[in-house]
Amino acid sequence: MVKKFNQLAYSNLDDFVYGSCPNPVTTKSGMVIGGGTVYPEINFTLPGMDINDTTIKKACTIYSNIIDGVLKRAAELYAPGVLVEFETVPDFTENPKYGIEVNRILLNSMKEASEKYGLKSAIRTTPNDLREFSRPPIMRHGKYWDTMLELFEQCAKDGSDFISIESTGGKEIHDGALVKADIRTAIFALGVLGVTDMEFLWKHLVGIAKANNCYPAGDSACGFANTAMVLAEKGFIPHVFAAVIRVAAVPRGLVAFEQGCVGPGKDCAYEGPYIKAITGLPIGMEGKSAAGAHLSPIGNIAAALADTWSNESIQQVKLLSEMAPVVAMEQLIYDCRLMNAATKKGQQVMFRDLLVDSDAALDVQAYVLRPDVVMRISAELVKTQDNFLRTKIAAKLTVQELKKAINEGIVKSDRRDMKWLDKMDKAIDSIPDDAGEFYEQMKSELDMTKFIPSEYGLK
């Protein structure tokens, strides 16, 4: 049974704020995510090393050191709870036994920390999307699919609270669209391929989660919209293009929730605020806290609606004080303390608006995360249930919002931005409202060596 989202979860902009949402979710340890408190979500990864049967022991020791270090610091700083994310690098999904072992190490240390310090914690397990290892990608069967599902299933069985993925359906086409700043092809990748794959993939993942007393949490358009953001930060593509991609990625992300995800949304899914507005479910977010993983123009505004606050990823390397993940843990906790202090005083809306004011006028990518903009565009998106059409509308509305904002001078822009917005506007208008029709149009333009239509149920 697929959920339908045909109205906003909020009627009042003042209720739309970090830390709480209409449909919170409770972890096994009793953390209520979206229940009023913003929790830190800590991520980490290995330092430069090879993974194989001889090095895996060392890798496990490193993971074990990391988790013990961050939980100890969390306890020392009286964190109300910690969400741990284990996002695998490919070796740990390709060899599920590696991923399963590390997941168990983490679960075990979390249990110990609960006994030793009384620290609450929960874990989100995020296997990487292995399917893209076939080029062109095989999305619906084959060894990568099987292996990946094996990891999901065993981790869910072993006690993970949440499962997530940053799925990549359509990315094989989207990558090229990005560097060419080609919005038509990008919308095809997101709104036709991405959406279709999400339906297929999440139906399976929700099934696995439900069968194993685990929550399906959410997906991220990271490979699409964050890649765009990174490219824009490097000055490679226009910021306005990245901003439009961000919002155009919302309908794709929504599919996971239609299929049954309950949140928290993935930390790096900066499209999260839209998801929260539409579903009323909690979201993970990351901003300045994640600068060690990617620079961004949305350091503060990203927190405005966050229910968990993440650092995205950091290697286990030594800084002058401590290992980098411990440093990240400390910074997350202080950021969360500040937000939660405001909530305690009933000043959360005021604080949210400061987070917004900090960034919204300085970059178009920040601008599209303004709670009022989010509400306005989301209100239009729920009017149709066709996720392809939603994608097109999302892009169109974002172009319009940005043109207006730039014309009114309420957001900083590059002298080249208007030209690109016009270009996108025209291109979007050339897209038909029907996905099938659009596919027919696109067929001649697509690089058929890069993708397999049947993997998306296309002919």
């Binding site: 990864t45 290995l46 330092p47 430069g48 090393m49 090879d50 993974i51 690098v89 490919p90 070796d91 893209e132 290892f133 080029r135 990558d175 990005l178 560097v179 060419k180 700043a181 080609d182 890649t227 490219l231 490097k234 000055g235 490679f236 593509i237 226009p238 290697q315 080249r416």
Partner: protein, 211 residues
């Protein structure tokens, strides 16, 4: 009549639809094809490169310029013998085993090609043996490796070792790059060069080819 300058400008502006007519005019006017390539098309890309480096041009614009250049080339290639096409050198590039990131690598290739290098793209997830085989097959001047994951960067080390073992190390220069890579790491594993982005990578290769 069209001038070499017009061709350069046309490349700079990425005017794909107009380049053919301009180049044809110059051909018809009897200008040496090699001159049209060097002082028209490539000269245009030579303006593009610093503009890109300084952030005044976006990648899609650079790509349009490169496409425009290539479109012009298509008319000129039949007029010259293969050996005459000026190439600064031959490079093979791939993303190492276990790693699928290729946006950076692809940009690199685009920049290299547009600056006059012949590039063989090996693709992603390239094993040590595949690099070795490619060196044997293509006899490049330079081998480039890309890695974006901390868990795959050590493959650069093993690839270099493999190339050394096969006695190929002395015949090539090796350059590496990608988010987790540093100059220091490059030195540690005995690569010849590192560069943090596509623009400086071209400069790096230029230095290597003239050194």
């Amino acid at each position: 009549m069209a001038t070499l300058n017009d061709v350069s400008q046309c490349v700079l502006d990425g005017e794909l639809d107009e380049v053919k007519a301009l180049v044809q005019q110059l051909i018809d006017a009897g200008i040496d094809p090699i001159t049209i390539i060097n002082d028209g098309l490539i000269a245009g890309m030579n303006i593009v490169a610093p503009l890109f480096k300084s952030g005044e041009m976006f990648v899609p614009e650079v790509m349009e310029s490169a496409d425009t250049m290539n479109e012009g080339m298509k008319l000129l290639k039949p007029l010259i013998t293969d050996g005459d096409i000026p190439s600064k050198g031959k490079i093979i590039i791939g993303t190492v085993n276990g790693d699928l990131h290729d946006i950076g690598k692809n940009l690199l290739i685009m920049m290299m090609e547009s600056r006059g290098y012949t590039v063989v793209d090996l693709g992603v997830d390239i094993k040590e043996e595949a690099f070795v085989a490619a060196v044997k097959e293509h006899k490049p001047d330079i081998v480039g490796m890309s890695s974006l994951l901390t868990t795959t960067m050590m493959k650069m080390d093993s690839t270099i070792k493999q190339l050394t073992k096969e006695g190929l190390r002395d015949q090539i220069k090796i350059i590496i790059g990608g988010a987790p890579i540093t100059q220091e790491f490059a030195e540690d594993i005995g690569a010849d060069g590192y560069s943090e982005d596509a623009s400086t990578a071209v400069e790096l290769c230029d230095r290597m080819m003239t050194a």
